[in-house]
């Protein structure tokens, strides 16, 4: 391999993109700077385009094993590549759940066949049922770093406290899906004027905020490190900020693209493409979460990529499952909504959707810099992407962006010695 | 377009209807039922003439929208109005009144509607204008004016109370 990316703008996590050429030879970045085209290199014209490290998504549901109709690990990783993402962390709510070294091994073996690295988290409690502690030491040995019952909170605070006391010894960290199991109701949409209009019992933001406060207190008291997944409300975001800044709790936050972009009123006439858990809140929450992202309350952006079949999503709103896909669309939608509108710059995306998630998973940070392994993407901000079923590589197409055209296009993905994608 | 009847001619036609009906009744009570819309105005005017002549008469209005046979061809169903027949229809002698008789279908619908109010002893039909081209066997007993028209022509009747003027026009398509 001998690639010369000529005339692009190289984005980093610390500053605005700088005009630079990038020379990649045999999976390594040989030079970055304004340089002459080397002889024999394949020259890619990157003028007007952004060259940046591959993204990393620490919150995806790949449904394998057990629900391969919705997604497989292979299809999921192809959707990631399609969206400029070169690494993922799977959630453990598969069937069976990822709650034993055997299942971890099976998932990681499957992941090793894919074109990008696949990591997995594992359950805090056996089968995510909230009754017994999962074999944490064994899970660590099998290669797990993140423990979460994602999809549900651990309902029993005493059990979560003990797991934290126990698991911290093994240098694991915890991730919380926060939701009070009694307050949340049927988990269909936010409680407010929209739930009233549609006649469906809503889930108040309170349900998430109370549980978040509980989990952070438990982590703080036990010395555990805690990551709060998919924060949806302004007060939730402020809760993390307060504990981190005022009490020094070891807590980080995560925000999904959809909680930044959509609100419950987008549900309109029972559109299940806007049904997810935690639910979409209000426009005010969108604004607060965006501010939280800019302020660094959210360490990472994660999609919560949650594929479901067309039939499942065509059911009545209450019956349809929660969640939307995100890997194919995340980067382009973030560009369309926030970078193209100058809400924030590429440095934020690189930091929150590439560097920090890798640091959180204790991986080497991908950088477009001399001497680093090639893990980079080329993004054209001037092109458009239309998210048809055919375009998206996920097995499912349950996204509000289905058949929408957004500004920006992932043009090329390079990982190691391979070009994974070239439009 | 041509003016077929001017106000004077319409007035004369109404007088003619009133005279004929008065004569035919021979002193018996007459109950007028006008078909909405414009048949009711013709009926009201004839009724007024008869009352002036000292005849014993009553007057009601029939909306036949719910009895039409052409809903399937309309993009939206017609605006309904109330019927108002305040006297018992059972056993009465009714003169059904419309402005124009053409295919006869409206009268069929009106008879259906009328019979849902009760069972009259006798029903006669009076029209201001008979323009011909019947499609079903319905014939008026009293006619104000016969007009020669083509099958495709449109006959537009305007009446004082509802339209602000009296006129009958034939519009050639």
């Amino acid at each position: 391999m001998n690639l010369f990316l000529q005339g692009g703008e190289v984005a980093t996590e610390n500053e605005d993109p700088q005009r630079a050429d990038v020379w990649v030879v045999d999976g390594m970045i040989k030079a970055v700077g304004v340089i002459d085209a080397p002889e024999g290199a394949r020259i890619i014209d990157c003028r007007g385009q952004i060259v940046m490290p591959g993204m990393f998504d620490a919150h995806v549901h790949f449904r394998e094993p057990g629900q391969e109709k919705k997604e497989t690990i292979l299809d999921g990783t192809e959707a990631a590549i399609n969206g400029g993402i070169t690494g993922v962390v799977m959630m453990p709510n598969t069937s069976p759940s990822v709650d034993s070294p055997t299942v971890v091994k099976r998932v990681l073996e499957q992941g090793a066949k894919c074109r990008i690295p696949v990591l997995t988290s594992a359950c805090i409690t056996v089968d995510r049922a909230g009754h017994e502690m999962a074999p944490i030491a064994g899970l660590k040995k099998a290669g797990v770093l993140m423990l979460t019952d994602d999809g549900d909170a651990v309902p029993n605070a005493a059990l979560l406290k003990r797991a934290m006391e126990y698991g911290t010894e093994f240098d694991m960290f915890f991730a919380s899906h926060c939701e009070d199991p009694q307050l949340c109701g049927p988990r269909a949409l936010n409680e407010g004027p929209v739930s009233y209009r549609l006649g469906i019992q809503g889930t108040p933001a309170l349900a998430e905020e109370i549980c978040m406060d509980r989990d952070i207190r438990l982590a703080h008291a036990t010395g555990a490190t805690l990551h709060i997944q998919h924060v949806s409300s302004a007060i939730g975001m402020e809760t993390i900020r307060w504990w981190r800044d005022e009490r020094g709790a070891k807590v980080s936050g995560e925000v999904s693209p959809h909680h930044l972009m959509f609100a419950d009123e987008d549900i309109g006439d029972y559109d299940t493409h806007y049904k997810m858990n935690p639910p979409l809140r209000t426009r005010d929450d969108n604004a607060a979460l965006l501010q939280g992202l800019k302020d660094g309350v959210f360490r990472i952006i994660g999609t919560d990529h949650a594929p479901h079949t067309e039939f499942e999503k065509s059911q009545a709103f209450v019956d349809a499952p929660n969640g939307i896909t995100g890997l194919d669309t995340a980067l382009v939608s973030l560009h369309d909504r926030f970078i193209a509108t100058a809400e924030f710059g590429w440095d934020l995306i690189v930091k929150r959707y590439s560097a920090e998630p890798r640091r959180m998973m204790r991986l080497e940070v991908a950088e477009v810099a001399e001497g680093k392994p090639a893990d980079l993407i080329v993004f054209d901000p001037n092109k458009e992407t239309r998210f048809t079923k055919e375009f998206m590589k996920s097995k499912s197409s349950n996204t509000p962006f289905l058949n929408k055209t957004l500004k920006g296009s992932v043009e090329m993905v390079v990982l190691g010695d391979e070009v994974l994608l070239e439009r | 377009m041509s003016i077929a009847l001017d106000p004077a001619a319409i007035s004369a036609a109404i007088d003619r209807l009133a005279d004929e009906i008065f004569l035919a009744a021979g002193g018996d009570a007459i109950d007028f039922v006008g078909i909405r819309s414009r048949g009711d105005e013709v009926a009201e005017r004839v009724f007024a003439k008869l009352v002036a002549k000292g005849a014993q008469a009553r007057f009601g209005v029939l909306d036949i929208s719910l009895y039409r046979d052409d809903y399937e061809h309309l993009s939206s169903n017609p605006m309904l109005q109330s019927s108002s027949i305040d006297f018992p229809v059972d056993g009465s002698h009714i003169v059904l009144v419309d402005d124009v008789i053409f295919t006869g279908r409206t009268i069929r619908a009106a008879l259906d509607a009328l019979f849902d109010y009760g069972r009259p002893a006798k029903v006669d039909l009076a029209v201001l204008i008979d323009r011909g081209h019947r499609e079903i066997p319905v014939e008026p007993r009293f006619v104000g004016e016969h007009l020669k028209t083509d099958r495709m022509d449109r006959v537009d009747v305007s009446l004082e109370k509802i339209d602000g003027k009296d006129s009958v026009e034939i519009i050639t398509q």
């Binding site: 009233y196 006649g199 029972y270 009545a316 | 009895y67 169903n77 605006m79 259906d112």
Partner: protein, 307 residues
């Protein structure tokens, strides 16, 4: 161009509502004739698809359809394959083959009639879906209120009871609001959500507001998975129309409405039913006229085959 479906009040504008109310008048006039039937929907089929038990609404629609000379088929849902896990979509495919012109749907799930409407050429009428909407009830309520107050603008109606779980509260408040009536909600704090309407959690304060009518709702225990108030007895003493409160209502000449079926001894005492300004039986009669107007006003999309 006429609508295909009648799914909720929110999507109707004021002019459409007034048109429907006006259309209901001649239908009500028919009820005094010896023959109450008209041939308007002769040869058409109205399918009653009730996924939730209802005798009142079902009979009202049945009478309305029959008075329009339509053929009525009642699809007996509890004994059909629907209970065996057949999806609504599959059922609709079957029903489509029956070539109904109008489908009247009641469903426990909000939004289901709308989903059915998208999948069929027939006109779909929402006869109540979950806590979402009950638009024909709203129409008959507005019609009834207009009979006693032809000038509705500026009049006040307090809707009292379980607002949270009530599709009637949602639809009736919406239609009254669109017609210029001032609406307030009153009930136990746990059953009255924050909305754009005035909110009372105290009976006396609601009455001091000066309503022209009190619209009582059935307190629907069967919908509640957790207690929202301590007991029916306590509800009756705090929010029910007791004999004492009936006297005050009568003195002030306030009308009483209720969508039925009533819970004696909970939201009202027996005396209310004999009160001369109680409009409950008038509502039932008007329900037939209102539903005739709705059936007559819709246009099934029978020419285009949906994919």
């Amino acid at each position: 161009m006429a609508r295909k479906d009648f799914l909720d009040i929110g999507s109707l504008d004021r002019a459409e509502i007034i048109h429907l109310l006006d259309q209901a008048v001649p239908f009500k006039d028919l009820f005094t004739r010896s023959v109450k039937k008209v041939p308007a929907l002769k040869g058409k089929t109205v399918l009653m698809l009730f996924y939730e038990p209802s005798t009142r609404t079902l009979s009202s629609f049945e009478v309305a359809a029959k008075r329009l000379s339509a053929d009525v088929t009642i699809f007996d849902v509890p004994h059909s394959s629907v209970t065996k896990g057949e999806s609504v979509r599959d059922t609709i495919d079957t029903l489509q083959a029956m070539r109904a012109d109008y489908i009247v749907v009641r469903h426990r799930l909000a939004g289901q009639p709308a989903a059915i409407a998208r999948q069929t050429n027939a006109s779909v009428i929402n006869a109540g879906d979950g806590a979402h909407a009950h638009p024909t009830q709203a129409l008959l309520d507005a019609f009834t209120f207009r009979e006693v107050y032809p000038e509705m603008e500026g009049r006040k109606v307090v809707i009292m009871g379980d607002i949270l779980h009530s599709r009637v509260a949602r639809s009736t408040s919406t239609i009254l609001d669109k017609l210029g009536v001032e609406v307030a909600f009153c009930g136990p704090g746990s059953l009255v959500p924050q909305t754009r309407f005035k909110r009372f959690t105290n009976y006396e304060e609601a009455m001091a507001w000066g309503p022209d009518a009190v619209y009582l709702l059935r307190v629907q225990k069967e919908r509640q998975d957790a207690p929202f108030y301590p007991s029916d007895r306590e509800y009756h003493s705090v929010f029910g129309i007791t004999e004492d409160r009936l006297k005050e209502i009568s003195d002030k000449g306030i009308y009483v409405m209720h969508p039925g079926p009533i819970n004696r001894g909970v939201e009202l005492c027996d005396g209310v039913l004999d009160y001369d300004r109680c409009l409950i039986s008038q509502q039932v009669e008007n329900g037939i006229a209102a539903r005739m107007a709705v059936l007559f006003g819709l246009k099934p999309d029978l020419k285009n085959e949906l994919s």
